[in-house]
Symmetry: D2
Subunit: 341 residues, 4 copies
């Protein structure tokens, strides 16, 4: 049995485990004020080419979204997202739990469009009754999106311009950011993201860590008493070193980028394999998640040997499934998969 | 420099790191539905002698308190705690953030008294205006308490009886539970706790794990759709295996109890040392945290060589400090400390 | 200047003011436990032909929506509404403020469709990942809708059947219920609504009262400790008599129905007038709100003499405006309006 | 039967009802943007001698407390109150429902002490772990207090000084403010309150209105988009005129002060009567609420003819009851009461 079910099916990159073991008996202060967190933050600031970046480590993606959105927004504000945005439907209402509305814009292969965004916010400001409405207070995008697609640099610039026009921060969910940055077809770099976004996070959980997301505030815009607010949401861990050591390792010798690139290489092999076998792609994804339309009959065959992710059922005879590669995917697994397609 | 600052200054027990490495490349499903979580849950049910126990793994203590309290309470209910209870002042209002009030009872060396508890709840039910008041909906105790003290079995029985009298669940915060169970002077066992409490948690973060608390619902009383509610609070991690492997290791071959006992042995040595040197204890703690009154002059001396935890300043010339031992404390560290006392 | 701006531009029906004066010096208990509330509840139960109905009085519509939705839903549940539903965009996020998501379904002249509703909920239950999603926990409809349209009895029956199929309560926002019940073209009665809905409210603010909405739970399904929860949301008023006297008056001698019918008579005159003058209706409304497309040039003329409600701007040269009649509209006002159309 | 049960047992001062009737058919805009609200605000600014005061009208006291506290506080802040403060126990957790903690200070006949307040806040800022704690963000006092007592001007000045020292706003709950201002023994005026407090409210519900509290922000410190936030809490009423007309009437020709003085005159007669009859006062109240210790036997006698408010049972043979006068209390009622004491 070989698994392409998700990019979080295995533990951590071995170098992370080694480093956890090496540093295990170093006594440190708690709650993120340790030397490993400091070192990791410094390396991330450098990688972002953003010396003023303020970096914080949280445990997971939904948690990061809930903490960032609820601390950046004023209480009468909501967040705008694509209708396929992870915060819209797949986080159990974590944003609403903090009291905030998620506005949903049309999605285009998982992305929002700058013009539609502009029109939406303009509509709010043009509405005579908007004092009775939630104010748009943030734009949320994911990159790669939930469909594995990527914004071009130009698209990000245009979305960023809309945000600045209305003085609304742009927040980028980078749960799979590494896989986006190392895509063969992207023109977006980490410094670009740091420059264009007001806050974003660099995903660890799905890119080689046991857990952890590095939140980066890029414009001297960290919410006041942010540590207290993290604690208030139950998201502050006592042994902050667990996150510090992991990110310090990921940002040493470009490990984060190297393992992300490996996952992309594997995804491209997978794409070629699927194309050669005549499969229909649900959409064209340049990252580590590939969505493929398969007849249910064929799927039953494949699933005897391969674990894949269920996505949706477009009709009664077909299924869209997701094949995900990761830092841990091997050539052998791709070859094994080839046997059953 | 030697540190007795807290019980979370180091990484994890080495056996945990080994086991994380051994299992690292085993593919598993996400969100806690993996084989390691299953195995750990089974072992915890056995250790609790409570076959019907429903076990869940969360990342940290404040998170566990917030999730348990907010999911067990109805929205018009509050939780009763000692005025020194961790949820009362040291969790940044995480309980209130979920909309619930914390009622504070007098503390007696960190503990609440069953008679005072009874009188308090009776007072509520006797108040003609109680429809205008938050209803008492849960009793929260910590064991060991924030002062390292322990409830006797009799005290727990009596508190449990009050809870049952008013049909209110009893919730025990066991962030340091191992150190309580292995105290030389306790008569309370893990099965006792499973029997007497409606829900409790077995702390991992402060007892040998990198992170993690095992929440145990003992009376077929898990809140409905609990996984969804955990996710809603941003507390569900994708690689649930990180918690499963740790607790599976801690509950294999009694490791949890063995390392807790070691911390207690070290604490008893520390106590003897401090007693022999003529120090004044702030109170008599039978667990791994020792609170000592020290003159500020002496403290400045000690702190050149030893990290301790600041507790409070009873007057302008003295300080109460905390010495904490843990699974990781060594005889050498105690001996080193002896030089400076 | 004559005003058709809204149905809340004037005070209360004179009989209400008289009754407030008559009862002014009768001493009563507070918080809704007075004789006037009791009498009003009894009359409403009779009018609903629902002896088991549990009636509560709140001050306003947004408040009623927020209180009902947040007390009926479990915390991991959301409410389904039409994309034009008042709770979706025009209540400043009052539902989200209580922690709940509003799911938006397509609207058809302000109404949701039973088949689309069924498909939506079915989709949720068929989604393998729905443990990570907010659960649909209530269906919200407004009757009349925000566009003045009405559900037929058959439409309500079919929506109710979907709700029962999935065991989800149906909540009807009746802020303008009187105007719906007295429409010339409805086949829905108040007893029908009490039978088909799990909870609904009878609007007072827009139908002759100074303030007040009567919430009716029809199925022995009042949330537990409802008074406490009302208080918790700041919605319990000390002088409950203010609401009791008003609803007691409205439900004496069919006043509520009589004044609603008057508003409908006035609306029909208005419709005829607008039709005769060749105006284009935005949609066909059988109630007291009429939406008309007017050229901006003409609108500027009209607004010199007539106050109307702005609705939306479909293009740069036209505006949709609302003409609303109420219990207070007079023939003279219609005649005055005729001069300027 | 004569009633001294509370100060909200009757309707409104007749002049208010008259004015509601007179203005009933004047068409106005909704949501508080009407001429009556404007006029009332102007008169209140004048009465406060505070031209920059920003005045808003809400319906009730708990609502006003919840709206003011939750909009003024940052989300990681809590509010400090006396342990007898209304927000602490008698508002069903309305403050906690908005996510904020209520810190309780010792009460002295219902009042907090400036020195204890200073020490408390100082303790917070001196605590090395205060990043893990809710921050004190507001001081709440009630005047008169829940026991009918009053702060002297000097006490208010000293509390205000502590607030300014720590840059924390002072909020005064004036649900019964009129009765405080008209007390025979106060040296505090309405302009004093406007000067010393950052925000306060002038109670209408208990001082002659059907409902309504006038919130006054005195330092150009209204929370941003306050109307939207009021709506978000379900506290914005469509017919704002209901509140505007009432407060406009109360602040015309000093009606508010005149009727408050009447209630005080009645309370002083009541006090003299009780004193002459040898009753024991629970404490010395200079306002319209009088708390008296009565044997249960005597109380049973009295209650056959007189409705009083239950306060507490200090022992098994006695009860503390409240006698409340109001704008509506008559000499005849006092005389009637005299017969049964």
């Amino acid at each position: 049995m070989v698994s392409f079910q998700s990019d979080y099916i295995m533990g951590a990159h071995p170098r992370i485990l080694e480093r956890l073991a090496e540093t295990n008996l170093t006594a440190t202060a708690g709650y993120g004020s340790d030397e490993f967190c400091e070192s990791a933050k410094k390396k991330i600031r450098t990688a972002c080419e953003c010396p003023e970046a303020d970096v914080w480590f949280l445990v997971g993606g939904t948690q990061s979204n809930a903490v960032v959105i609820s601390t950046v927004l004023q209480r009468f504000e909501g967040v705008i997202a694509a209708e396929t945005g992870h915060i819209g439907f797949h986080e159990a209402g974590a944003v609403e739990y903090t009291g905030h509305k998620v506005f949903l814009l049309p999605q285009h292969e998982g992305k929002i469009d700058a013009c539609e965004l502009d029109a939406y916010i303009k509509g709010f400001y043009g509405d005579a009754n908007n004092a009775h409405m939630v104010h748009p207070g943030m734009v949320y995008i994911s990159h790669p999106t939930e469909y594995g697609t990527l914004y071009s640099k130009d698209e990000l610039v245009r979305i960023g311009n809309v945000c600045r026009k209305y003085n609304i921060p742009l927040f980028l969910d980078g749960a799979r950011l590494g896989y986006g940055l190392m895509s063969y077809s992207t023109d977006v770099t980490l410094p670009d993201i740091a420059k264009l976004c007001d806050v974003f996070y660099i995903g660890g959980t799905k890119v080689g860590a046991l857990c952890g997301e590095a939140i980066v505030f890029t414009k001297n815009n960290t919410p006041s008493h942010f540590l207290t607010q993290i604690k208030q949401q139950g998201a502050l861990i006592a042994k902050g070193r667990l996150l510090g050591v992991q990110f310090d390792t990921l940002f040493t010798d470009d490990l984060y980028f190297e393992i992300s690139r490996h996952a992309i290489d594997m995804a491209e092999k997978l794409k070629k394999l699927l194309t050669d076998k005549g499969y229909t792609f649900y959409l064209d994804s340049p990252t580590n998640q590939q969505f493929v339309l398969i007849s249910d009959e064929k799927l039953r065959e494949i699933e005897k040997h391969v674990a894949v992710g269920f996505w949706e059922k477009p009709d009664s005879a077909h299924t869209v499934v997701r094949f995900a590669t990761s830092w841990a995917t091997t050539d052998e697994e791709i070859e094994e998969l080839a046997k059953y397609l």
